[in-house]
Structure formats: C-alpha cells, structure tokens
Symmetry: C2
Subunit: 225 residues, 2 copies
C-alpha cells in the first residue's frame, strides 16, 4: 500500500541523539503539527479539543532500510541483548512506522496546526495519521511492559552550574532537564570523561555523566531554530 504524509511535525530535535525513547517521557518537549496543503482543512480538526491525547502514526524517516532483521538490541538492555523486533518499539522495523501518544496543548483551527507535547520525533518528521486517544479502548495501566519494566525507573540527576542555568529560559531548562534525565547516552559507552553533546531547538548542550549525575558543562546557541 502507498501512504502519503498528511502533515509534518516540527520539534526541537534536529538530530537523533537526545530524542526521548518513547513519547510522553519528556513532557516539556513540544511539537507543532503542520498539515500539508491538501489536508489543511479546519473541518478535519472539528471536535479534537474534546480529547487530551492524540496518536500519531509517523515515518521513522532516518531509519529506512532495504534489509530487515528479526531482532534488535534495545538501548534499555544495554545494547547487547537482542529481542524480537515485534517485541520492541525499535525504529528498525519491516515497515518503518512510528507510533506516539502526545498531549494536545493548543489547537489552531484557522491555521490548521496542533501544538502537542511529549514528542519523540525528529524535526520535520512526516505524519501519516492522527487519531484521538480513547481511554476506554487504549488505556491498560495494569499491562506488563516487558523488558522496559525493569529499567523504567532509571533516571539521571541533573546539575546545571548557576552561570549556565541563567542562559536558559524556564521552558528550555525544563526541556533540557527532561532530555538529560532520560540518559541519552549510547548504552554501552559509559566513559565518565566523555563530553556528550545534545541539540534542542537553538541550544547546543554539552554534558558529562559521572555515576548517576549528568553535569552540563557548556551551553551555546545556534543551529536551526
């Protein structure tokens, strides 16, 4: 089947490193859904304000491959253990479709734009479908979460030196903290001297991780926003 983008989402993530590994994990990370001209019809959004969350089905656009592999090595398992691709939400899938649950922040019917939070997509990601979240069918809080259950409590504490903190707006501070807390490092590289860099919107943030603490060592502005 041939599917086409109905919209694109603009997020603060210009590159893959640092993107939260699931939707909703970094609530402060916002995105703006902009419909392509063909689907830019305010009527198509009628009633959408009566929901709190949306499902987005989107394109793992940076992860198209011609070959498929039956197993993947999730970062949450240290990148060494392999599980079946259908037992994971890995981007490396036979059909590179992503599924995210995002919170509705603002609906601009006139411009046909929706601002959402809790995003986990690269800036400019093509979106194929938007569906309302129906708690009576979609919410199973008691469900077992497989291997992700074991590691979901893993979070870094964050240290931002005062002179760097004052470079950030409160929104930026919240988003950057949320992103670093998730521990964006490659699972099997845990060198305490290594300086990592993550981009969020106009910010470039450099940090080190020692023990369970991420310390920001440099913040610069620039980039694509």
């Amino acid at each position: 089947m041939e599917i086409e983008a109905i919209a694109h989402i603009h997020t603060g993530f210009p590159e893959k490193f640092g993107i939260p590994r699931q939707s909703g994990l970094v609530e402060e990370a916002e995105g703006r859904i902009v419909f392509v001209p063909k689907y830019r019809q305010p009527d198509a959004l009628r009633g959408i304000r009566e929901y709190d969350y949306l499902w987005l089905i989107w394109d793992f656009s940076e992860n198209h491959r011609t070959e498929w592999c039956a197993t993947v090595a999730p970062p949450r398992l240290g990148g060494r253990e392999r599980v079946g691709v259908f037992a994971s939400r890995s981007p490396f899938r036979p059909n590179p479709l992503g599924l995210s649950c995002v919170k509705i922040r603002e609906v601009d019917e006139e411009a046909c734009e929706i601002t959402v939070s809790g995003v986990d997509m690269l800036d400019g990601t093509p979106i194929y479908d938007i569906k309302p979240y129906l708690p009576y069918a979609d919410a199973h809080p008691e469900a077992r979460g497989g291997f992700s259950d074991v590691t979901k409590e893993h979070a870094l504490s964050i240290r931002i030196p005062a002179e760097l903190e004052e470079k950030l707006t409160p929104e930026e501070r919240a988003a950057v903290t949320g992103i670093l807390k998730q521990d964006p490092r490659t699972a099997f590289i845990h060198d305490e001297e290594r300086v990592w860099g993550v981009s969020y919107g106009a910010l470039n943030v450099r940090f080190r991780v020692r023990g369970g603490e991420a310390e920001i060592c440099e913040i610069t502005r620039g980039g694509n926003l």
Copy 2:
C-alpha cells in the same frame, strides 16, 4: 511511502456488519496473526510473551477511497452529526490505517503465530506492524475521550431463547453476546420489527432489537469457517 503486509489476521468477522467499533470492546472475539513467509521468523517474536497487549497497525482494506472527506459521521453520534476525521477513529481516513490494542492469548513461536483477543478487524486483514504495549508510555486512563465518552455506557441486554442457546458452544455464546451488546445496528435505523443478521465464524445469527434488548430469533451454521 510504500508499506507491505507483514502478516494477516484471521478473525470470526467475514463481513463488516457486527465488527466491534474499537478493539477490546468484545474481549471474547479472538484472532490469529499469521505472518507472511518473508517475516515468518520465530526470532522476531523473542520476548513478546513478556507483554500483555500488542498494538496492531493494519489496513482498512474495505475502506480504500480515492477522495478524502474532512469530516465523518460516527455511528456513536447517531450517524447524523459530523466530526473531523482526525477527531475520530473512522475507517474513512486519508491513509486507511487502523490501530488496535489486542490482548495476547497465545504465542506459537514455532509456527510464528500469535492468538489475540479483543479484535475489531475483518477476517484476513493485512497487518503492517506489531508493537508491544508499553503502559508507561501508552496508558492514560484519566484522558478525556471526546464524543465517545457520552455513549460508552450504551449496551443492549441480550435474550437468547433456550432452544437457540443450546446450539452454541460457551465460547460462541460469549462472543455473540459481546457482539450484540455493542449494538451493531446502523445508527439511524431503529425499526423494532427489522430482523438483523450478523455472522461470526461459522454462525449466522438473526436478531431483533426492542427497546434496549436484543433477542436472537435464529441461529444457523455455514459460512466460511
């Protein structure tokens, strides 16, 4: 983007009438996911038993259209009021992708088949992706459910005359009761004399609805299972 079926799901629903309007509504309705030869690799299912639910992204194969319409008329709103297509889970969407949350019943790694329950697809529906349900990202039981909140309590009571009930196995009885409880009638036809027919697996069930009660008036066997 071009996507291809990784599997098909075999369900008891040979026709659209009677299919539950969301996944999970009729828990007794089972389906069997059978992978296409290319993706029939037991490794691809490794670890899937550690989850309770799966997401299926599938093809509304009976609802392909060349034109799109910005609004739809959900049966839950009586079929007369229209809402935006992106504020509904209607099958008539720009990209005819369905999204269902189904419960895992049985995993047969060797045959590479998964039996699930709570299905809402036509028999033979092509499946494009299977992802594990992650409660920490996917469960929002407190979310508002839009127009579906108003009507979710609507359920018919079911009367099965004793001489018909004995024609059913306990599983069939549970599934048929679940299907009729959801009130499969076309929203705007509520003629109390009308006899409706629904197929489930080998069964053809004829029923009437009077007030809030569905009474089964005939059960025959035949059909495609």
